[in-house]
């Protein structure tokens, strides 16, 4: 059961990745760096200026969005319409710069943000308070994203650009601005996920890569470009992790996940929970 709570946060991270992929066909390799940035933003805000941990979430969402929009113009915009490898290289180099700076400042040691929350006991199970709150906040963010994409004019424009960029341009949607907005949203989601993960687990500057890879696994499960699928895929991954942990050492979870990743890609190349595409 705890796997569902943790997995939903993986789903949140993967939503950021899959949103960017769906809207602009870009595999965003700054994703892991954005997750780590969320973790360290939480660390700095709580230890530096004594901010209550969950008050950092809106700040990280807004900051992540602004940084994401800036990143779009710096590293992505000129690569749109070029060979995909160019975008992989440019986002990967941003990733290296961020991780490199982080390592220079904080080293690669373990960090921990202590969040004091009472757990909840139900029958013979006890759930950690941070895990429950992380899942609740994930549900709120995911729900808001859904409302934005399906019930606002701008959100529908994001889906229109994802669906057919040329047609979107022809009906008067400023598609370049929509792309930068989507990139900002994707980075904000990754940052928020990183912050929520940091309330549950210790982390290092190098943690981003593992969570970025988890996001890829979740995306493969949920179907590329499908935010709702990402949440389901995240929960599925959380369950697999929780299940595997009962039988083998924790260090094996990544191995299990990647075997799963490969198997899924072979059997369901478009994702297990992918909606039918017309």
């Amino acid at each position: 059961m705890d796997g569902v709570l943790i997995g939903s946060v993986y789903g949140l991270a993967a939503m950021g990745l899959t949103l960017i992929w769906g809207v602009m066909n870009v595999v965003n390799l700054t994703h892991g760096a954005a997750i780590v940035a969320g973790m360290f933003a939480l660390y700095l805000l709580t230890s530096g200026i004594d901010m209550p941990p969950y008050a950092a979430l809106p700040l990280i969402l807004v900051g992540g969005f602004l940084i994401g929009v800036a990143l779009y113009w710096i590293a992505v915009h000129r690569m749109i319409g070029r060979p995909p490898l160019m975008i992989l290289l440019s986002t990967f180099s941003v990733n290296l710069v961020v991780i490199g700076l982080g390592t220079a400042v904080w080293g690669t040691g373990l960090f921990n943000v202590a969040v004091a929350l009472p757990g909840v006991t139900w029958r013979r199970y006890t759930f950690s308070g941070t895990h429950i709150l992380a899942a609740v906040l994930t549900a709120i963010i995911a729900g808001s994203l859904y409302l934005f994409l399906y019930h606002t004019r701008l959100g529908k424009a994001v889906r229109a650009v994802a669906n057919n960029r040329e047609a979107a341009e022809l009906v008067g949607i400023p598609t370049t601005r929509v792309l930068s907005l989507s990139f900002g949203l994707g980075v904000a989601l990754a940052g928020a996920a990183g912050m929520l993960i940091a309330t549950m687990f210790p982390f290092t500057v190098l943690s981003g890569d593992a969570y970025q890879l988890k996001s890829f696994v979740v995306t493969a499960l949920g179907g590329l470009g499908n935010p709702a699928g990402a949440l389901v895929g995240g929960v599925a991954l959380g369950l697999v992790e929780g299940f595997a942990a009962q039988f083998m050492p924790v260090s094996w979870t990544l191995v299990i996940e990647f075997v799963l990743f490969v198997v899924v890609l072979i059997i369901f190349p478009r994702g297990v929970f992918a909606f039918k595409r017309s």
């Binding site: 529908k156 424009a157 889906r159 229109a160 022809l170 009906v171 400023p174 017309s278």
Partner: protein, 238 residues
């Protein structure tokens, strides 16, 4: 020609090294239906792309409502009322009819008077009203073309440019759509139609341009063009 709404002067354009248009000029008059016909590969779609700005023209000038709009991006042209119904429909296939129409009205000019225009569009194409919540990708070709035109109308166009109205459609749908086009024209809408079915295009239009190999071949009212032996042979199959 004081009532010229859209004027294209000496347009050249192409893809990479390949030049497709070699100095094309044409004019669409306000309130008229102008047709651009030509064989496959003559440069009709390229002309429209260059006019709308989805590809950059190499040289030439595009005047719209007396202003030079040659270098404006496509989305800005749409907000000024220069609206294209693209070849192959290009609907938002994962979105519903309602959402497609709402996106058509994304620009400010379309948002103004939205519900009245929606009613008019549904009167023109009642079938769309029955399927408002259905996804566009599930539609037949004729219904998709109706929706594409409806989406264009929702922008409240000054001029509606339609690329290949009859493309890939069953004869019955083609006649329905040409009927709708006639209705729109009679209501005073300015239309620039690009069409391979020259018979039908000549039947509804006020003025026609014939292009071949990226250049203007001839122009005139359809009745006089239809009398020219080379047009009858090459385009009307007579």
């Amino acid at each position: 020609m004081s009532d010229a709404l859209l004027e294209v002067e000496g347009l050249t354009a192409g893809y990479g090294e390949v030049q497709v248009l070699w100095g094309l000029s044409l004019t669409a008059l306000r309130g008229r239906l102008t047709t651009l016909v030509g064989a496959n590969g003559a440069g009709k779609t390229t002309t429209l792309r260059a006019v709308l700005g989805t590809i950059a023209p190499w040289s030439g000038r595009i005047m719209f409502q007396g202003e030079d709009v040659t270098r404006l991006p496509a989305h800005v042209k749409a907000t000024r009322g220069l609206v294209l119904v693209p070849e192959g429909r290009q609907l938002f296939s994962n979105m519903t009819v309602d959402e497609n129409l709402e996106m058509g009205a994304f620009a400010k000019r379309g948002a103004h008077g939205y519900s009245d225009r929606l009613e008019r569009v549904f009167t023109l194409f009642p079938r769309l009203k029955e399927r408002r919540r259905q996804k566009a990708g599930t539609f037949s070709g004729g219904e998709q073309q109706m929706l594409a035109i409806a989406r264009g109308l929702m922008t409240d166009p000054e001029i509606l440019i339609i690329d290949e109205l009859s493309w890939g459609l069953a004869p019955l749908s083609v006649y329905q759509l040409f009927g709708a086009l006639k209705t729109l024209k009679d209501a005073g809408l300015t239309v620039l139609l690009v069409e391979q079915n020259v018979h039908l295009a000549f039947a509804v239009s006020d003025y026609a341009y014939v292009i071949a190999e990226g250049r203007l071949f001839t122009q005139g009212p359809p009745s006089s063009l239809a009398a020219m032996p080379e047009i009858r042979r090459a385009y009307l199959g007579l």
